[in-house]
């Protein structure tokens, strides 16, 4: 399918809420009342989860460009490093990578070799927005 962008990540509901929604959705189950209760709880869970799911505020569009320019120069098929796309990691794994701010076995810092702090933020935004477990996964052209 076409590429999709995540501007509005959907927060994860608690297991209890998921069960409630699931039960209310079954045929034969009450179709009125229960879904509203489930939705109310879901909304609450979403509100509680929202701050935890806050994403970086860089530019998605520019992040894709800088990722291709800086990272894909090596991380491609038959390149000098393993193939890398946003799908190569989960959102948590990408966050962990950028929080550590180290690249490769040598542990080089990302700035300035791979871009300015602003450009690195853009790359981080793009990769987290389109990670393998994101709502809008993207391959970045393989």
């Amino acid at each position: 399918m076409g590429f999709r962008r995540n501007r509005n990540p959907v927060p994860r509901a608690s297991p209890e809420v998921q069960d409630l929604v699931y039960l209310s959705a079954r045929p034969g189950a009450p179709t009125k009342g229960m879904p509203m209760k489930a939705l109310a709880l879901l909304t609450l869970a979403a509100l509680l989860a929202a701050p935890l799911a806050a994403e970086p505020k860089g530019s998605d569009t520019k992040g894709k460009f800088y990722f291709k320019k800086s990272c894909k120069s090596c991380h491609v098929d038959k390149g000098s490093a393993a193939v890398l796309t946003p799908l190569s990691k989960t959102q948590a794994q990408w966050r962990k990578f950028f929080d550590a701010g180290k690249h490769g076995k040598a542990g080089e810092t990302l700035t300035p070799k791979f871009g300015t702090p602003e450009q690195i933020l853009d790359i981080k935004t793009f990769l987290i927005n389109h990670a393998s477990d994101s709502p809008q996964p993207e391959t970045c052209g393989g």
């Binding site: 999709r4 959907v10 998921q18 929604v21 699931y22 879901l42 393998s132 477990d133 709502p135 996964p137």
Partner: protein, 721 residues
């Protein structure tokens, strides 16, 4: 020509040609004929399949288009539409130079102008809109095509968030449902399947492409079992082993009952489910009420047949597929119906197996790096992120967008640029689309013919035909993936330009030239550099294609595989759907039934047309000169209507007059109309005011999860004129 004869001709021609060049695909090698003189390799544009073509050129004129046997995905065939591309180039009705409207919109008074004047005029209007409403006051809508990227990029560089693509009029619900389940949209290995079920896609009649040939090969040559559901007796129904005139809108009930049987009788692939999926335990309880007896009441299909089909399907195991086909969304539950299809396929373990569903492979290619622009500052006018958070935010949702634009919320949109699309015919409720156009300060259209939408525009930019231009290299993912080049075969015969040059002409006047500072040759050269073949550019110019001819199965069946889903597994139960407020497992709700004296309007198309286009080309038009209204013979008798009578068909959206076809080949609760007729543009002379346009009648309804237009939710009454 009779439609079945046409199919036979296309089918027989395709099979014969294939057996010469690619005998392995159909297993019937025949004596090879002398190879035809080789033409210039390029890529067809007349439908989304993009078959490889050899253009035969003499004295600067294309005189024949042949299939290119080097692309296995094309199956060495070129369909009726593909052949008729020649007539598109030399069509006397074609747009020949830029035009600026001088009369009222739709009045048909045009002034031929130079490209400079057309660019200045349009750029001035766009800049004025931006100054008054911001860049978000502009809408950029398009349909798929190799140069669509340049049109979209112009809209994005301009700063508009409102880039609107065609999937929400097409396959968005299918794509989203399979992505939410498997993390990707797979292909169906019809060439090797042994049991195929299809609901309504009418592949033997409405869309003759290489995978149709695989299906025909499977059904007719390998005797694969083929079960078909459709309220209408189509050509596909005539070729099926079993056809059921299912009650419209109840496909989901049929599928859930099949899942019920397979689960209850433990005919599922337990090893596969344990290793690769999440949520099967929840599915077991979920489908318990969906018995075949229950489904019989909903669908009208006998319980015993549902039970037997479910058992046969499960027994065929990984070579059984419930084929998604190619068709748009028809009902507001379309996403959940597609999810149920995906789950049914999943539980018999056909994932990534020969004869089952296969994740698409790609061919690696390079990419031209152009200067990126800033992200748009305003949210999208269709509010897709808020109302359809799982849908593709880059594609948008057409009908909700139109509703918002008509209401002026959350902000006004006053300029509309359109590429290669005819919203007046492709979007339900033509009256609303016309109203939306009336509210625009400016409308610009890029096309090769004067579509109805172009007829109502302020400026028309004539695009060069695909045989007259070079396009970006395109990767066609699939079981047999290919990268294809569309290269110029002949020089433009009129004063036309490729979309890139049209985008550049506007960009220059809008101060956006830095983002378009390249040529098509530079773009293609960058792409060709990383193709998996030596001297990529030279290879593509000579062959037109790089393809993998051998299928690979099972590549995702390894312990390290992480599916592109939230859990990393194939998701039978979807947490993400629950979080978005949708059913995490498909829940059935009976569709609304037409009130007394009204009929559900269903629609479809023919293999000679792509969407609402191409009906004007003589070779194609002669197969389907006019559409009519299929009406069940019992209902027709009650209404006093005979074949050939003019009838008035009316919905809440509009009213049309059309000839009736009285037939027993449709359910009594439905009427049917072929898509793509009743055109408003006199420059489409064959179909101007011929028959009727379904878009006049279709009401506004969409699938709740994907936002895909729901095309079969309209009830009409019918009276003899």
């Amino acid at each position: 020509m009779d439609r079945r004869l046409f199919l036979q001709m296309v089918g027989a021609g395709g099979l014969a040609a294939t057996s010469i060049a690619c005998p392995k695909f159909f297993g019937k090698g025949k004596a090879a004929a002398a190879p035809p003189p080789r033409g210039i390799p390029t890529t067809c544009e007349l439908c989304p399949n993009k078959c490889s073509v050899l253009a035969m050129v003499e004295k600067g004129k294309v005189h024949k288009l042949n299939p290119n046997p080097e692309n296995p995905k094309s199956r060495n065939m070129l369909c009726a539409r593909g052949n008729a591309a020649i007539q598109q180039v030399y069509d006397p009705d074609r747009l020949k130079q830029p035009l600026i409207r001088v009369g009222a919109r739709g009045e048909g008074k045009w002034r031929p102008v130079s490209w400079d004047e057309a660019f200045d005029f349009a750029a001035g209007k766009l800049a004025a809109t931006k100054a008054k409403y911001g860049p978000e006051g502009t809408l950029w809508s398009s349909t798929e095509g190799f140069q669509e990227v340049f049109f979209k990029n112009l809209g994005m560089a301009f700063g508009s968030p409102n880039i609107l693509r065609h999937p929400s009029l097409c396959l968005a619900s299918v794509n989203l449902a399979y992505s939410m389940t498997f993390g990707t949209v797979p292909s169906f290995d019809l060439q090797n399947a042994k049991y195929v079920i299809m609901a309504g896609a009418n592949r033997f009649e409405s869309f003759i492409t290489p995978d149709t040939m695989d299906l025909i090969g499977g059904v007719m040559e390998r005797k694969a079992k083929f079960v078909y559901l459709d309220p209408r007796f189509t050509v596909t129904a005539s070729k099926a082993d079993e056809w059921y005139a299912i009650k419209p809108g109840t496909d989901l009930a049929f599928i859930l009952a099949m899942i019920h049987v397979i689960v209850r009788e433990e005919r599922y692939d337990k090893v596969f489910l344990d290793q690769w999926t999440v949520g099967f335990d929840k599915l077991v309880d979920h489908v318990a009420p969906y018995t075949p007896d229950w489904a019989e009441k909903e669908t009208g299909i006998p319980s015993a047949d549902i039970l037997r089909i479910a058992r046969e399907f499960a027994d065929a195991g990984h070579r059984a597929v419930f084929y998604a086909g190619r068709r748009s969304s028809w009902y507001q539950n379309d996403f959940q119906m597609r999810r149920a299809q995906a789950i049914l396929n999943c539980i018999v373990g056909n994932w990534d197996r020969e004869g089952g569903m296969v994740p698409n492979r790609k061919v690696a290619k390079g990419e031209f790096m152009f200067l990126p622009w800033d992200d748009p500052k305003a949210p999208r006018v269709d509010e897709v992120e808020k109302n359809f958070p799982l849908a593709s935010a880059k594609d948008g949702v057409y009908l909700p967008l139109r509703e918002n634009v008509l209401k002026g919320v959350p902000y006004p949109v006053k300029a509309w640029m359109i590429y290669k699309q005819d919203p007046l015919n492709s979007v339900p409720d033509q009256g609303k689309t016309l109203k939306m156009m009336e509210g625009m300060d400016f409308i610009g259209v890029v096309d090769i013919a004067m579509s109805d939408t172009a007829w109502f525009a302020d400026v028309v930019f004539p695009e060069s035909h695909y045989l007259e231009r070079t396009d970006p290299i395109e990767v066609m993912p699939g079981i047999w993936p290919a990268a294809v080049l569309r290269q110029q075969v002949v020089k433009p015969i009129h004063d036309t330009k490729p979309c890139l040059e049209i985008a550049q002409g506007l960009a220059k006047r809008l101060g956006l030239s830095d983002y378009f500072d390249y040529t098509i040759d530079q773009w293609v050269e960058a792409e060709a550099k990383e193709l998996p073949v030596e001297n990529g550019l030279e290879h593509m110019k000579k062959h037109g294609v790089v393809a993998f001819s051998e299928a690979k199965y099972g590549t995702t069946r390894n312990a390290a595989q992480r599916f592109v889903t939230k859990s990393g597994k194939i998701e039978i139960f979807s947490e993400r759907l629950a979080e978005a407020g949708h059913d995490p497992l498909p829940v059935y709700a009976p569709p609304q039934q037409p009130p007394s004296g009204r009929y559900r309007m269903i629609l479809g198309r023919k293999a000679t047309m792509t969407h609402a286009a191409l009906a004007n080309l003589p070779w194609l038009h002669e197969h389907n000169p006019e559409n009519d209204l299929w009406l069940n013979h019992d209902e027709a008798a009650r209404l006093g209507i005979r074949t050939g009578d003019l009838v008035r068909v009316t919905s809440t959206a509009g009213s049309v007059t059309i000839k009736a076809r009285v037939t027993e080949e449709i359910r009594p609760d439905c009427v049917f109309m072929l898509h793509g007729f009743g055109k408003k543009s006199p420059w489409l002379r064959s179909v101007y005011n011929v028959g009727a346009a379904d878009s006049v009648l279709l009401e506004t309804a969409w699938d709740k999860v994907s936002g895909n237009a729901a095309m079969h939710e309209t009830f009409v009454n019918v009276v003899r004129v």
